[in-house]
Amino acid sequence: MIHEDLQTVYSVGEITQYIKDIIDGNDALQNIYIKGEISNLTKASSGHVYFTLKDKSSQLPCVMFRNFGFSSTNFNFKQGDQVMIRGSFSIYVPHGRYQFYVREIQQAGLGMLYQQFLLLKSKLEEEGLFDEKHKKTLIEVPEKIGVLTSPDGAVIHDIIKTLKRKYPLTELLLYPVMVQGEQAAAQIIQGLYYFNTNPDIDVIIIARGGGSFEDLSCFNDEKLARAIFNSIKPVISAVGHETDFTIADFVADYRAPTPTAAAELAVPDILDITNEINESKLFWLKQIQDKVSDQKIYLDDTFRNIHQQIKRNIKSAKKELYYYARISGSSSLREKLKVFQLQLIERINKKHKNSFFQLKMNEYRSLESLHKTLKKTKLNFQNNIMERIFINKRFLESEQQKINMLDISSTLKRGFSISMKGDKLISSVNDIEIDDQLTTIFKDGRLISKVKNINK
């Protein structure tokens, strides 16, 4: 039971103000440094910035007033950032809440180490160690990849997993190194030397997972930077997370945001290569088909010309045959001539077609040599046909005579005779002149006479 008259009773405002005075008057709580991680970040429209600074065991509400020189527009920190703040504790009486009034903020760990990093970075940059012109290109299909990382942990397994999936044709050689601490840089330098003296290695990956600026500081070593620069083999650096940059990243030929990305960068995709190989063959086939169809057009033209020539030859042969048929005046002879004609044409066509058919059969293999010999054979072929037609014509002529004789033998038997001048049948007195020598054929012999008189 509280007895009001026995105790001093404060109002909420009074006691809060009292505590505020104690805090404000305590030098140990004024103008001090605190480090922690930014969370619950709010940038108020008033321009003030509010956040909670936290670590594993506690949290502290912080405020940055615009009139202290901050503004929500030039506040470059974000949720999760490790920061160091300078300021003073006080109490915001209306809410009865204690908070930290921030006067200055900077990235945590930005001590000597960070200063050294910036100095080395600008020094090496001036020397040209980061220049694009020094960057070596990656070999397209590496046979052997040298990896400098810890044999423990996820990094090496991420790399192996990626290579197995993307390009299992390669060989990975792991040179185990420490990736943190004082010995790390020296070990990585040795590893670089080892891989550079190993002629099979096509590319070197230096990798480690994320960590604090201090954890990654071995990758900001000047000797390591120069060793990477001097590497004959291309170097891919994948140190820390995407947002972490180290000197090793700047000087390396390639920088990958993660170890997985480094492995991706080092090798081609087996699917792309397989596709390329398969497409090459199709492409070649198409090229050859184009060439063949060009040749085919040429050959078709040539054969069409030959065909035309043969047709012309046959036509003229036909004309001649008709002529003989007509002058012989015999219908059965005409019939026989017709049959012979057809046979002749068929024979010529058959020969022609056979050649053409064979040509088609073999054209994919031998169009080229055909093409070459065709010019020669074209002439021979033509001559051959002509010769055949000529021989056939001669044959036809002698056949015709025999047929003539057979045809007239029955007439001769009846007592008629036939007179010829040379090998030409005389069917009119206009065919002969005085002193012509005539052969007259009887059923049982022939006589030769001389024309003495012609009566028309």
Partner: protein, 71 residues
């Protein structure tokens, strides 16, 4: 390790070379056919190689000698 008799990169290079030459007009059909035969053989070899390939992972256990073991 057995000495490699098949050079994948060299084969790929030759395949690309053939693709380039195949496009040339002055290449005769006969030459095209010969290249096609050569290329087809290379492609078959490459395909076999691609099919049988398996990632090898080794870890150096003695940095002085470079002695390595399966990882």
């Amino acid at each position: 390790m057995a000495k490699k008799t098949f050079d994948f990169e060299k084969s790929m290079k030759r395949i690309r070379e053939i693709s380039e030459k195949m496009q040339l007009d002055e290449l005769t059909l006969d030459e095209s056919m010969k290249m096609f035969e050569e290329g087809s053989k290379l492609i078959e070899e490459c395909q076999n190689y691609l099919e049988t390939a398996e990632l090898k992972v080794r870890k150096i256990i003695d940095k002085e000698s470079g002695q390595a073991e399966e990882f």
